[in-house]
Protein backbone atom coordinates (compact mmCIF):
# COMPACT_ATOMS: atom_id res chain seq x y z
CA UNK A 1 0.00 0.00 0.00
CA UNK A 2 1.49 3.33 -1.06
CA UNK A 3 2.15 6.20 1.32
CA UNK A 4 -0.52 8.88 1.23
CA UNK A 5 -0.43 12.62 1.78
CA UNK A 6 -2.34 12.06 5.05
CA UNK A 7 0.37 9.67 6.26
CA UNK A 8 3.06 12.29 5.69
CA UNK A 9 1.03 15.10 7.21
CA UNK A 10 0.62 12.96 10.34
CA UNK A 11 4.38 12.42 10.50
CA UNK A 12 5.07 16.14 9.94
CA UNK A 13 2.68 17.01 12.76
CA UNK A 14 4.42 14.53 15.06
CA UNK A 15 7.80 16.10 14.24
CA UNK A 16 6.28 19.50 14.94
CA UNK A 17 5.17 18.24 18.36
CA UNK A 18 8.73 17.09 19.03
CA UNK A 19 9.93 20.64 18.38
CA UNK A 20 7.17 22.06 20.58
CA UNK A 21 8.29 19.86 23.45
CA UNK A 22 11.91 21.00 22.99
CA UNK A 23 10.80 24.65 22.88
CA UNK A 24 8.62 24.43 25.99
CA UNK A 25 11.24 25.69 28.51
CA UNK A 26 11.16 29.15 26.86
CA UNK A 27 8.27 30.24 29.03
CA UNK A 28 8.19 33.85 27.78
CA UNK A 29 7.26 32.54 24.33
CA UNK A 30 4.34 30.45 25.57
CA UNK A 31 1.80 32.50 23.63
CA UNK A 32 3.82 32.47 20.41
CA UNK A 33 4.25 28.69 20.62
CA UNK A 34 0.52 28.27 21.12
CA UNK A 35 -0.15 30.57 18.15
CA UNK A 36 2.24 28.61 15.94
CA UNK A 37 0.59 25.34 16.90
CA UNK A 38 -2.81 26.80 16.09
CA UNK A 39 -2.05 28.28 12.67
CA UNK A 40 0.31 25.61 11.34
CA UNK A 41 -1.81 22.78 12.73
CA UNK A 42 -4.81 24.20 10.89
CA UNK A 43 -2.85 24.63 7.65
CA UNK A 44 -1.54 21.06 7.71
CA UNK A 45 -4.99 19.72 8.57
CA UNK A 46 -6.50 21.59 5.62
CA UNK A 47 -4.08 19.79 3.27
CA UNK A 48 -4.88 16.41 4.84
CA UNK A 49 -8.60 17.13 4.48
CA UNK A 50 -8.25 18.12 0.83
CA UNK A 51 -5.66 15.63 -0.43
CA UNK A 52 -5.23 13.09 2.34
CA UNK A 53 -6.06 10.03 0.26
CA UNK A 54 -3.77 11.03 -2.62
CA UNK A 55 -0.51 9.15 -3.03
CA UNK A 56 2.47 11.09 -1.73
CA UNK A 57 4.43 12.97 -4.42
CA UNK A 58 7.80 11.58 -5.48
CA UNK A 59 10.46 12.43 -2.93
CA UNK A 60 8.01 13.64 -0.28
CA UNK A 61 8.46 10.65 2.04
CA UNK A 62 12.25 11.07 2.05
CA UNK A 63 11.77 14.79 2.71
CA UNK A 64 9.55 14.13 5.73
CA UNK A 65 12.03 11.54 6.98
CA UNK A 66 14.79 14.18 6.80
CA UNK A 67 12.53 16.64 8.61
CA UNK A 68 11.88 14.10 11.37
CA UNK A 69 15.62 13.55 11.77
CA UNK A 70 16.27 17.30 11.92
CA UNK A 71 13.52 17.86 14.49
CA UNK A 72 14.90 15.07 16.66
CA UNK A 73 18.44 16.47 16.43
CA UNK A 74 17.47 19.93 17.71
CA UNK A 75 18.11 20.27 21.43
CA UNK A 76 18.27 24.06 21.80
CA UNK A 77 14.80 25.38 22.71
CA UNK A 78 15.28 28.66 20.86
CA UNK A 79 16.28 26.89 17.69
CA UNK A 80 13.28 24.62 18.13
CA UNK A 81 11.02 27.68 18.14
CA UNK A 82 12.53 28.89 14.87
CA UNK A 83 12.04 25.42 13.41
CA UNK A 84 8.38 25.36 14.44
CA UNK A 85 7.93 27.98 11.73
CA UNK A 86 10.24 26.34 9.18
CA UNK A 87 9.23 22.67 9.46
CA UNK A 88 5.62 23.12 8.27
CA UNK A 89 6.78 25.29 5.37
CA UNK A 90 9.29 22.67 4.25
CA UNK A 91 6.75 19.85 4.65
CA UNK A 92 4.20 21.76 2.59
CA UNK A 93 6.78 22.47 -0.12
CA UNK A 94 7.64 18.76 -0.29
CA UNK A 95 3.95 18.00 -0.77
CA UNK A 96 3.67 20.58 -3.55
CA UNK A 97 1.70 23.03 -1.43
CA UNK A 98 2.19 26.73 -0.79
CA UNK A 99 2.79 27.77 2.81
Amino acid sequence: MSTTVADLIARARAAFETLAATAEPVSEEFQYLADLETVWGARLKSVADARGADPAPVGAEAAIEALEAEASAITDPHRAIDWMSTLPQVALAALGEAA
Partner: protein, 228 residues
Protein backbone atom coordinates in the same frame (compact mmCIF):
# COMPACT_ATOMS: atom_id res chain seq x y z
CA UNK B 1 12.71 64.69 6.97
CA UNK B 2 16.45 64.24 6.89
CA UNK B 3 18.43 61.02 6.57
CA UNK B 4 21.85 60.92 8.18
CA UNK B 5 24.66 58.56 9.06
CA UNK B 6 24.29 56.68 12.32
CA UNK B 7 27.10 57.22 14.81
CA UNK B 8 28.74 53.78 15.09
CA UNK B 9 28.81 52.25 18.55
CA UNK B 10 30.92 49.26 19.61
CA UNK B 11 28.37 46.76 18.39
CA UNK B 12 28.16 48.48 15.01
CA UNK B 13 31.93 48.37 14.55
CA UNK B 14 32.01 44.62 15.17
CA UNK B 15 28.91 44.06 13.05
CA UNK B 16 30.45 46.02 10.16
CA UNK B 17 33.05 43.28 9.80
CA UNK B 18 30.28 40.71 9.46
CA UNK B 19 28.46 42.86 6.92
CA UNK B 20 31.64 43.18 4.84
CA UNK B 21 32.33 39.42 4.78
CA UNK B 22 32.22 38.13 1.18
CA UNK B 23 30.03 35.24 2.35
CA UNK B 24 27.25 37.74 3.16
CA UNK B 25 27.40 39.30 -0.31
CA UNK B 26 27.50 35.88 -1.97
CA UNK B 27 24.46 34.66 -0.05
CA UNK B 28 22.54 37.87 -0.72
CA UNK B 29 23.28 37.73 -4.46
CA UNK B 30 22.06 34.14 -4.69
CA UNK B 31 18.97 34.81 -2.60
CA UNK B 32 18.05 37.91 -4.60
CA UNK B 33 17.88 35.78 -7.73
CA UNK B 34 16.36 32.79 -5.95
CA UNK B 35 12.90 31.29 -5.81
CA UNK B 36 10.80 31.08 -2.66
CA UNK B 37 11.74 27.40 -2.21
CA UNK B 38 15.43 28.20 -2.60
CA UNK B 39 15.09 30.90 0.05
CA UNK B 40 13.32 28.40 2.30
CA UNK B 41 16.23 26.00 1.78
CA UNK B 42 18.65 28.72 2.90
CA UNK B 43 16.58 29.49 5.99
CA UNK B 44 16.39 25.81 6.95
CA UNK B 45 20.09 25.09 6.43
CA UNK B 46 21.38 28.28 8.09
CA UNK B 47 19.22 27.45 11.10
CA UNK B 48 19.78 23.71 11.00
CA UNK B 49 21.77 21.10 12.89
CA UNK B 50 22.88 18.78 10.09
CA UNK B 51 25.96 19.59 8.04
CA UNK B 52 25.37 16.76 5.56
CA UNK B 53 24.38 18.14 2.13
CA UNK B 54 22.53 14.91 1.26
CA UNK B 55 20.25 15.42 4.26
CA UNK B 56 19.16 18.78 2.85
CA UNK B 57 18.89 17.54 -0.73
CA UNK B 58 16.46 14.89 0.48
CA UNK B 59 14.42 17.50 2.31
CA UNK B 60 13.87 19.57 -0.85
CA UNK B 61 12.82 17.20 -3.66
CA UNK B 62 11.58 20.02 -5.90
CA UNK B 63 15.12 21.47 -5.93
CA UNK B 64 17.24 18.31 -5.95
CA UNK B 65 14.95 15.34 -6.69
CA UNK B 66 14.24 13.49 -9.94
CA UNK B 67 11.77 16.15 -11.10
CA UNK B 68 14.14 19.05 -10.31
CA UNK B 69 16.13 20.82 -13.03
CA UNK B 70 19.16 18.79 -14.08
CA UNK B 71 22.69 19.54 -12.92
CA UNK B 72 24.04 22.25 -15.22
CA UNK B 73 20.69 24.05 -15.40
CA UNK B 74 21.12 27.56 -13.94
CA UNK B 75 18.26 27.04 -11.47
CA UNK B 76 19.76 23.76 -10.21
CA UNK B 77 23.19 25.33 -10.01
CA UNK B 78 21.77 28.14 -7.89
CA UNK B 79 20.20 25.57 -5.55
CA UNK B 80 23.56 23.83 -5.18
CA UNK B 81 25.36 27.14 -4.64
CA UNK B 82 22.82 28.25 -2.05
CA UNK B 83 23.14 24.94 -0.22
CA UNK B 84 26.93 25.31 -0.11
CA UNK B 85 26.78 28.94 1.04
CA UNK B 86 24.14 28.17 3.66
CA UNK B 87 26.21 25.31 5.06
CA UNK B 88 29.19 27.67 5.24
CA UNK B 89 27.10 30.09 7.31
CA UNK B 90 25.82 27.28 9.55
CA UNK B 91 29.41 26.18 10.09
CA UNK B 92 30.34 29.50 11.76
CA UNK B 93 29.05 28.60 15.22
CA UNK B 94 25.88 29.74 16.94
CA UNK B 95 26.77 33.34 17.85
CA UNK B 96 28.48 34.17 14.57
CA UNK B 97 25.89 32.49 12.39
CA UNK B 98 23.20 34.55 14.06
CA UNK B 99 25.03 37.75 13.09
CA UNK B 100 25.60 36.47 9.57
CA UNK B 101 21.94 35.66 9.12
CA UNK B 102 20.91 39.17 10.13
CA UNK B 103 23.48 40.74 7.83
CA UNK B 104 22.33 38.53 4.95
CA UNK B 105 18.69 39.60 5.32
CA UNK B 106 19.75 43.24 5.29
CA UNK B 107 21.98 42.78 2.23
CA UNK B 108 19.22 40.89 0.45
CA UNK B 109 16.73 43.66 1.20
CA UNK B 110 19.17 46.25 -0.11
CA UNK B 111 19.60 44.35 -3.38
CA UNK B 112 15.88 43.76 -3.93
CA UNK B 113 14.94 47.37 -3.20
CA UNK B 114 17.67 48.63 -5.56
CA UNK B 115 15.97 46.77 -8.40
CA UNK B 116 12.88 48.94 -7.95
CA UNK B 117 14.00 52.27 -6.58
CA UNK B 118 16.82 54.25 -5.01
CA UNK B 119 19.00 55.54 -3.62
CA UNK B 120 19.14 52.70 -1.10
CA UNK B 121 21.24 53.15 2.04
CA UNK B 122 22.06 51.13 5.14
CA UNK B 123 22.09 51.91 8.87
CA UNK B 124 20.63 55.40 8.68
CA UNK B 125 18.91 57.62 11.19
CA UNK B 126 15.98 59.85 10.30
CA UNK B 127 15.48 63.35 11.69
CA UNK B 128 12.19 65.25 11.71
CA UNK B 129 12.50 69.00 12.29
CA UNK B 130 15.92 68.23 13.70
CA UNK B 131 14.48 65.64 16.08
CA UNK B 132 15.72 62.06 15.65
CA UNK B 133 12.87 59.57 15.29
CA UNK B 134 14.68 57.04 17.45
CA UNK B 135 18.18 56.39 18.71
CA UNK B 136 18.61 53.22 16.69
CA UNK B 137 19.25 53.44 12.96
CA UNK B 138 16.91 51.89 10.42
CA UNK B 139 18.44 48.88 8.67
CA UNK B 140 17.72 49.89 5.08
CA UNK B 141 16.32 53.15 3.75
CA UNK B 142 15.21 54.48 0.38
CA UNK B 143 16.06 58.15 0.32
CA UNK B 144 13.98 59.28 -2.62
CA UNK B 145 12.18 62.63 -2.57
CA UNK B 146 8.45 62.05 -2.18
CA UNK B 147 8.83 58.26 -2.01
CA UNK B 148 11.08 57.55 0.97
CA UNK B 149 11.06 54.20 2.72
CA UNK B 150 12.47 52.79 5.98
CA UNK B 151 12.79 49.04 6.57
CA UNK B 152 13.81 46.94 9.54
CA UNK B 153 15.07 43.47 8.70
CA UNK B 154 14.84 40.35 10.83
CA UNK B 155 15.89 36.76 10.37
CA UNK B 156 12.82 35.32 12.06
CA UNK B 157 9.32 36.17 13.23
CA UNK B 158 10.57 36.28 16.82
CA UNK B 159 12.45 39.44 15.87
CA UNK B 160 9.10 41.23 15.62
CA UNK B 161 8.90 43.03 18.93
CA UNK B 162 6.94 45.96 20.24
CA UNK B 163 9.90 48.35 20.23
CA UNK B 164 10.69 47.56 16.58
CA UNK B 165 7.09 48.22 15.56
CA UNK B 166 7.02 51.40 17.62
CA UNK B 167 10.24 52.67 16.02
CA UNK B 168 8.85 52.27 12.52
CA UNK B 169 5.50 53.78 13.45
CA UNK B 170 7.25 56.72 15.08
CA UNK B 171 9.10 57.47 11.86
CA UNK B 172 5.92 57.17 9.77
CA UNK B 173 4.06 59.55 12.09
CA UNK B 174 7.02 61.94 12.17
CA UNK B 175 6.97 62.20 8.39
CA UNK B 176 3.21 62.73 8.41
CA UNK B 177 3.52 65.52 10.98
CA UNK B 178 5.81 67.33 8.56
CA UNK B 179 3.31 66.89 5.75
CA UNK B 180 5.48 64.25 4.12
CA UNK B 181 5.19 60.56 3.57
CA UNK B 182 7.42 57.69 4.63
CA UNK B 183 6.66 54.07 3.80
CA UNK B 184 7.75 51.88 6.71
CA UNK B 185 7.93 48.13 6.99
CA UNK B 186 9.42 44.92 8.25
CA UNK B 187 11.33 42.44 6.10
CA UNK B 188 11.23 39.07 7.84
CA UNK B 189 13.05 36.03 6.45
CA UNK B 190 10.38 33.71 7.83
CA UNK B 191 6.96 32.32 6.94
CA UNK B 192 4.23 34.91 6.58
CA UNK B 193 1.83 32.86 8.70
CA UNK B 194 4.26 32.95 11.63
CA UNK B 195 4.99 36.65 11.15
CA UNK B 196 1.31 37.57 11.19
CA UNK B 197 0.54 35.89 14.51
CA UNK B 198 3.63 37.48 16.02
CA UNK B 199 2.79 40.92 14.69
CA UNK B 200 -0.75 40.88 16.03
CA UNK B 201 0.45 39.95 19.52
CA UNK B 202 3.32 42.46 19.61
CA UNK B 203 1.78 45.51 17.98
CA UNK B 204 0.43 47.11 21.16
CA UNK B 205 -1.39 50.36 20.35
CA UNK B 206 0.17 50.66 16.89
CA UNK B 207 -2.25 50.53 13.96
CA UNK B 208 -0.93 47.98 11.52
CA UNK B 209 -2.45 49.63 8.46
CA UNK B 210 0.58 51.88 8.11
CA UNK B 211 3.14 49.08 8.41
CA UNK B 212 4.19 46.86 5.52
CA UNK B 213 5.10 43.26 6.24
CA UNK B 214 7.29 41.47 3.72
CA UNK B 215 7.78 37.82 4.64
CA UNK B 216 9.89 35.12 3.00
CA UNK B 217 7.23 34.19 0.43
CA UNK B 218 6.80 37.80 -0.70
CA UNK B 219 10.37 39.09 -0.86
CA UNK B 220 10.15 39.69 -4.60
CA UNK B 221 7.63 42.45 -3.89
CA UNK B 222 10.53 44.57 -2.61
CA UNK B 223 11.94 44.48 -6.13
CA UNK B 224 8.57 45.18 -7.73
CA UNK B 225 8.37 41.60 -9.00
CA UNK B 226 5.61 39.04 -8.58
CA UNK B 227 6.51 36.30 -6.05
CA UNK B 228 8.41 33.48 -7.76
Amino acid sequence: MLFMEARPDGRAVVYAHIQADPLVARAADLLAAGTTTQRLLARAVMNGESTDPEHWRAMFPSLFGPAAPAVGDPVRDRSEDLLAVSLAVADRGEQTRSQFRGAIVEALTERLLAERTGPVRRERRILFDGRPAEIHPYDVTVERDGAAEAWDCKWGARGIKGDVIHQLDDARRGAGAEGGKLLVGLVIFDARRSCEVRLVRERGPVALEGLKLIALEGLDRLAGRKPS
